[in-house]
Homo-oligomer: 406 residues x 2
């Protein structure tokens, strides 16, 4: 058939995307086989998911269409999150403990089976490349529960080039989170008071729920309390979702997602959002989880020792908007903007959201240390509106330290 | 202010996503600072982009809302693609050539400055982790123009652990592609007949266009002929887009994206779509670009030698749908499906699209070698419809070899 006879019937039959609207245009996400669907995908569609991002090569829900209700659910009741895209990198074998320590800026001495630690990971230049929670499943078996970068490639390359006697791979392990003040009661209903009562923060244990194998961990990316249920059979995701949703009905459970407003109020780092590609853990406020005085070596240690000696140049700071000039349509921030002190660029506003708790716009800046003192007044241009910012004296949600994690 | 007084005014003011529609619901993509915007982003929005994916941590347009017109533009005239998310990994320094060879399954002997080669990259187990085009900018300076995985982390880890004297980083270099039968004439208008006439396939040269610095390469992810303009100043993306669009008006240029129908017709590999996480380059049909008989070592060589000896177990095959049972609404395929031979699962249908040129549905399968002979009849269940497939005797667009690349 010649080109002139092309009918393109099926392409022409495909729906045209005429959803654009002046006040609320949002582009669609392309669905295709290059990106993985989570084990909970069908359940999230049935629950009314309206937006996704892509995280670790997997679709991750980011909205069910009602931000105010999703925030209330998380902070007043309990929310169910598909966070399967927080993938695990398993390191197992005789050299697993030493390799994991070599990868981690955090001192892992004394880490026991059934416990976890927040473990920032740097490249050889001392820049953050991921900030996983590290679960110790056995003395020779670990899961790095990762943020959005291919840490599996990194760990495999390091292991192979060093000749470490380990296997490095992505296991079938997909977290489903319950987060919120009523998550504890829901967990007790699901797993029993004995199991839940003994589970301290960042403790984890293998359990079964209606025959579905899980690792239950007291953790999650909010400060509202909660648990992550690491499903270890990806074929049973919808079943697990439905079971938890049914048990949570009496607590007012509903679908939700990692919540930008709550996590900025609470001072939790969003790797890749708050930092740029050349941010060290001290700049990112993670100094408390980096151990430069140990006897062991880790990747980036030499570079970080030099950097500490010469002085850390930038700081991650919480900022509040000093006036009401910012329109809600500009929130959450789509991309970083330059911030200025006395007209000079001193860094970036990395994120900004509306805070329901504080009833004002707040954000995260990555600025020169000289502009990071509490009370410093900065400016930022957002969509043509000049806004005033004030560096906060403390994180909004965690009075004693910037990023509270074990 | 107590919780009871929360007004959540700005969250409530945010638009609710009530775009769902029974016949054509597509979720939105969340826009936020974790994912980068391309230098051409604003231009693509102005040009009517309607859908994105995320590729190498950057938004990549996937539709302008009219698939039939976008296909015609690409195959009959010329299309302008924002493919900035095809990022570059630069390797530069005294050990750059030897490190790049160690990373690449392809023999790089004789690769000169101003030339490029398709260079599949494997992990130490011989599985594909990326399939970049490698541009040689100087004898000690290379760009890996990558598919969607953090190959920069991989290359940095290997370089540092081996003590290679190189720098590895992502430079400011963002491809804008012109693809289609009239791309040649457009390129001549933009860069002159002398420059374009001397530029063979996979040749590249540094040029300026209205003072904007570029690397111009005869390349691109289609078989319609064309060029990639590697912009080397990310602040000038919209300017470059507008300049090319204006010059292309007389050729009927318009916006487009990498096109699933055209690339499957043409037999081009889509890394991450066509393969799974344990696919070797022989299974993926890339054997012609893997050199096991050279004297040099490369990552994965030992594993691949063993695998070749024991026999390659799977093959990537082109398939055509043998009947009209598949509805257009199921295309392109959202995720892989099991394919069967005589009722037994023998692999996966990785992709399926409508082919305007062949006027039928076609796809890519990854199946046991025993089920890969031309003419083999397979079945696949797509959304409850049992479809018949036939393994094609040859790729649809490239009669002589599966994946034609230099």
């Amino acid at each position: 058939m010649g080109r002139g006879n092309q009918t393109n019937k099926s392409l022409d039959a495909q729906p045209r995307a005429d959803h654009r609207c002046v006040c609320c245009w949002m582009p669609e996400i392309m669905l295709g086989p290059r990106v993985r669907k989570s084990p909970y995908y069908e359940a999230t569609v049935a629950a009314g998911v309206s937006a996704f991002t892509i995280y670790n090569h997997m679709y991750m829900p980011t909205s069910y269409g009602d931000p105010a209700e999703e925030y209330r659910r998380l902070t007043e009741r309990v929310a169910l999150w598909d966070v399967a895209s927080q993938r695990q990198i398993e390191i197992v074998g005789p050299d697993a403990a030493s390799l994991t320590q070599y990868l981690s800026a955090r001192n892992l001495a004394g880490l026991k089976s059934g416990r976890a630690r927040y473990a920032p990971i740097c490249d050889h230049d001392g820049y953050l490349i991921n900030d996983p929670v590290l679960l110790c499943l056995a003395t020779d078996r670990f899961w790095l529960s990762i943020a959005d970068s291919d840490l599996g490639l990194w760990a495999k390359a390091v292991a192979a080039e060093r000749g470490a006697d380990v296997q490095v791979f992505e296991p079938d392990a997909s977290p489903l989170a319950i987060q919120g003040p009523l998550a504890e009661e829901l967990a007790i209903d699901l797993f029993g008071a004995d199991v839940v009562g003994q589970l301290g923060f960042f403790h984890h244990v293998g359990v079964e729920l209606d025959g579905i194998g899980l690792v239950l961990c007291r953790s999650g990316w909010s400060k509202q309390n909660g648990f992550e249920l690491f499903l270890t059979d990806g074929s049973r995701g919808v079943e697990l979702w439905d079971t938890v949703m049914a048990a949570g009905a009496r607590f007012g459970i509903g679908p939700g997602t990692p919540n930008a407003s709550e996590r900025i109020e609470s001072g939790l780092l969003s790797f890749g959002s708050d930092n740029d590609s050349r941010t060290d853990p001290f700049e990112a406020g993670l100094g408390a989880w980096v151990n430069l005085d140990g006897e062991y070596d880790f990747i980036g240690k030499t570079a970080l020792l030099k950097r500490v000696e010469s002085g850390i140049e930038r700081s991650l700071v919480n900022v509040s908007f000093a006036d009401d000039s910012l329109s809600a349509a500009s929130l959450p921030l789509e991309h970083p903007r330059a911030v200025r002190l006395d007209g000079q660029v001193v860094g970036e506003l990395r994120n900004a959201v509306w805070s329901p708790r504080l009833d004002q716009a707040i954000g995260i800046g990555l600025v020169k240390s000289s502009a990071s003192a509490p009370g410093t007044r900065l400016t930022v241009d957002i969509d043509g509106v000049e806004c005033s910012l004030v560096v906060a004296s403390e994180p909004f949600g965690t009075p004693r330290r910037l990023f509270s994690a074990t």
